[in-house]
Symmetry: C2
Subunit: 149 residues, 2 copies
Amino acid sequence: MITYRNATESDLQEIISIMQDNILGKNRENKDDLNNYTKAFHEIQQSPDNNLIVMLNNDKIIGTFQITITPYLALNGTKRATIESVHMASNLRGKGYGTQMMQYAIFLAKEKGAKLVQLTTNKKRIDAKRFYEKLGFVASHEGMKLNII
Amino acid sequence: MITYRNATESDLQEIISIMQDNILGKNRENKDDLNNYTKAFHEIQQSPDNNLIVMLNNDKIIGTFQITITPYLALNGTKRATIESVHMASNLRGKGYGTQMMQYAIFLAKEKGAKLVQLTTNKKRIDAKRFYEKLGFVASHEGMKLNII
């Protein structure tokens, strides 16, 4: 049975494991030191605009995403939902769970008053782009990043 | 003299004028009916994660952008700043004001604890991509959108 809920602090280790479990995440996450993740988790939890969601299959976490609601003036004051940090347990990819999770994310976006859903996906993840296109997303924009450390 | 401040409700008409003043904004914004913009403005103002900024040249608004700070678990709990709705008065483009405004946006992002700045830019705006690349941004991601009206 598939269910969704807000992540809790005790989910963190499992969530980081799923985030690590792919080519790009492998070297940039470290679930052995949860300090910074815990700090970020509390900031997400305290933000009225953010929700970190987990997808469960019979009480086991199999997927996760973060939804951010942002009011903008553009497009006659259209509220947007940003879906990021979308991750699915690697042994369950290609089985429709990801589609189901994104459909839930879109449902949540509507429920929160958004009229536009946006996300960015690394150009190296060619499968991911195709996955989102099947859901109706259009790659109309460049997603640009700048490290300022 | 160039200054920056948070936008106020009485700036709205001027901000929408600047947003309208380009090929993509021309047909999608309407400064004659401010109702929805005013509602969105108050939501931006009330959100602790969002600031709508105006750039002034001797007290006249010449540019605007919105900065959104979002905590994420990814990259060891890295906080990100999203810069969107970047607009400059058309008669002042290509004179360095945009660069100056983005440098201020990046300064603000750092001040708010972000270690990564991100933005999306419509692929139709070829000049904009080049402009952001000169500032050090890398177009590593696809920016994907889905209307859910």
